[in-house]
């Protein structure tokens, strides 16, 4: 079915989003270690490292949102909902989707207007580094968009499951 193909594409996209950034943890750790050595041993701190690392890590957090959603790792308190039948759980998730979408769309909308502005003026970091800040905003919008897509894919799966056919 064409819709299932589409859903699998979205899954792949979320997975790609996560996999493209998950080595950032290692890179960030490495940079900070370099900074410690530079400052403590060579007495010559590298000012841009902490700020650049903050930016890298922010990109990491934004981009893994959809990946986490794909693997259903955003925790919730499911002690009640897990007792419901599979069908009721599907209905509940469909009913809750607008609330999820409300938050994500607001983030996407606010993030988008910020991004446009930030890219236009080539927004920089605060002193002492003045490095580029605007890529962070692009990734925030991208990450939020991926979350929305994955959320929609999950919604469609729930609907498909409800009307028979499709995977649960």
């Amino acid at each position: 079915m064409i819709i299932e193909k589409l859903l699998n594409r979205i899954d792949l996209l979320s997975e790609w989003g996560g996999k493209s950034v998950y080595t950032i943890v290692l890179i960030a750790g490495f940079f900070l270690c370099v900074e410690v050595v530079a400052r403590y041993i060579f007495n010559n701190p590298i000012v841009w490292i902490p700020m650049a690392t903050s930016l890298l890590c922010a990109i990491f957090y934004f981009m893994i949102g959809a990946y986490t959603l794909l693997f259903k790792s955003h925790v919730g308190m499911d002690i009640f909902s897990s007792k419901l039948s599979q069908k009721s759980q599907n209905i509940l998730e469909i009913l809750l989707f607008p609330l999820f979408a409300l938050f994500i769309v607001v983030l996407l909308w606010g993030g988008y207007s910020e991004m446009i502005f930030s890219v236009k003026i080539r927004e920089t970091m605060p002193p002492p580094w003045y490095g580029p800040l605007w890529p962070g905003k692009i990734f925030m919008v991208l990450g939020t968009f991926l979350i929305l897509l994955q959320g929609i894919a999950n919604l469609l799966r729930n609907i498909l499951a409800l009307f028979g056919g499709g995977e649960p």
């Binding site: 943890v25 690392t53 949102g65 790792s73 009640f80 609330l99 909308w109 606010g110």
Partner: protein, 436 residues
């Protein structure tokens, strides 16, 4: 409508959403958006995005994914197994020795990692079967593993402390120092309890037959070297003022990764390494999106003036500062039963911390006790991660048995809390010496 009703409505909405089972991150975010629209219209909504962006850029939070990464690297490296093998030789002959070894290993692992999963899961897999085959009382064995595993977040490094430092405005270094002593104090109480049980009921924890020469014992003790080097690199560096806690997390994360690659060179598959990144990403994604949702929630909460309202209400009650502290502790205990630890911190810390300061209590003291309650949340039913880790490690265990087994340990932790309220110096001594 006045602020009282709106504040009440806001928490009510949040509570209903949480109980619906929706992911905590979306519950917090959606509540924030709904109340922003209701109070100020849609024009102020773009502020949410900048709040989220700013929390993403917070420097101190970088420590969280790094500590998570460190924990998964060490788990994969088989450090816990080596430690258990070594301590088994030393303590096996002692009555209650295996339970003691469990507490000690959990303390060592807690000082290497910032989450509870590593110690709890690995000990449930390697120590629990050994204890049961030795004829240990089942309840004691489960209880000691589940509750000692919880020490992982109290003894630094600690991911929840990183989040608390950001949400409650405490000094992360001081929290680490205070948590170290508090954690060791609770571990000592656990040890005393185990020894007491071994003395009162010898059949609960029989000695096992270990025959090892001194040479073998010393040989096996090499397993202790790496953990202690790592502990020194992370905690020692902070204590000596060489690194900030964030940089210490980087040193620890990279150190453990190098250790893993070196230890398992040639035998570790690419798949395993990918798995570590995968698990780090999932846990970080969960933690950070709760932080993002909560930072929107707190922004609305503060803009409404609810913070001011709650503090003036509580202070105006004229029930004395200690009554408020006890009230907060009871709230934390109840929240711990149902909510995710990071969620509790992000919701409760911004509300409680300013009030505690206003009442004249020490921020570090309260922060450490806050984490003790978070730790308690890991072992209190019905929603306690450690209990589920135990269940996942051994499917034959009944949830009811696990609940019962942690009860004495919950009592011990509560006793420790009372003790640390009477003698706050236990928590405050080390931070005051190291960071005056």
């Amino acid at each position: 409508m006045n602020i009282e009703i709106i504040t009440l409505l806001m928490f009510g909405t949040l509570l209903i959403l949480i109980f619906s089972g929706m992911s905590l991150a979306w519950c917090l975010g959606a509540t924030a958006v709904i109340f922003t629209i209701a109070m100020w219209g849609t024009a102020s909504l773009p502020i949410m995005a900048s709040r989220v962006f700013d929390s993403g850029m917070t420097y101190v939070l970088i420590a969280a994914p790094l500590f998570i990464f460190m924990a998964f690297c060490l788990e994969e490296s088989g450090m816990a197994e080596a430690l258990f093998g070594s301590l088994y030789l030393w303590c096996g002959k002692l009555r209650g020795g295996l339970a003691l070894a469990t507490v000690v290993i959990c303390v060592i692992l807690a000082a290497c990692t910032g989450i509870t999963a590593t110690a709890t899961v690995t000990m449930a897999v390697i120590a629990l079967p050994r204890m049961l085959t030795c004829g240990y009382n089942k309840s004691l064995s489960i209880g000691v593993i589940a509750s000692s595993g919880g020490l992982g977040i109290l003894i630094p490094p600690s991911v929840p402390m990183v989040v608390l430092a950001m949400a409650g405005g405490q000094s992360l270094g001081k929290l680490f120092m205070g948590g170290m002593v508090a954690g060791i104090f609770i571990a000592v109480l656990f040890t005393i309890y185990v020894l007491l049980m071994a003395w009162l009921y010898p059949s609960y924890c029989p000695a096992s037959e270990v025959s090892a020469t001194l040479r073998e014992k010393i040989n096996a003790s090499k397993a202790l070297i790496v953990p202690f080097v790592l502990i020194f690199m992370v905690l020692g560096f902070i204590l000596l003022g060489i690194t900030t806690p964030t940089e210490a997390a980087a040193v620890g994360g990279i150190g453990s990764f190098i250790y893993l690659i070196f230890k398992k060179r040639g035998t570790i598959s690419r798949q395993k390494i990918v798995e570590i990144f995968h698990r780090t990403s999932l846990m970080s994604g969960m933690v950070f999106w709760i932080i993002f949702g909560a930072s929107c929630f707190t922004a609305v909460f503060n803009a409404l003036g609810s913070q001011h309202l709650i503090s003036s209400l509580l202070v105006g009650l004229d029930i004395g500062p200690w009554a408020i502290v006890v009230f907060f502790f009871i709230m934390l205990f109840l929240l711990g039963m149902v909510l995710d630890p990071i969620g509790i911190i992000m919701i409760a810390a911004p509300v409680m911390s300013p009030i505690i300061l206003q009442l004249g209590f020490d921020a570090t003291w309260f922060g450490v006790l806050f984490i003790v309650f978070i730790q308690l949340g890991y072992v209190t039913p019905p929603f306690g991660y450690n209990l589920y880790y135990m269940k996942a490690a051994d499917r034959t265990l009944k949830m009811g048995d696990i609940f019962v087994s942690v009860m004495p340990f919950i009592a011990i932790i509560l006793f420790a809390v009372i003790f640390m309220c009477i003698f706050p110096q236990i928590i405050l001594w080390l931070p005051s010496v190291v960071m005056p």
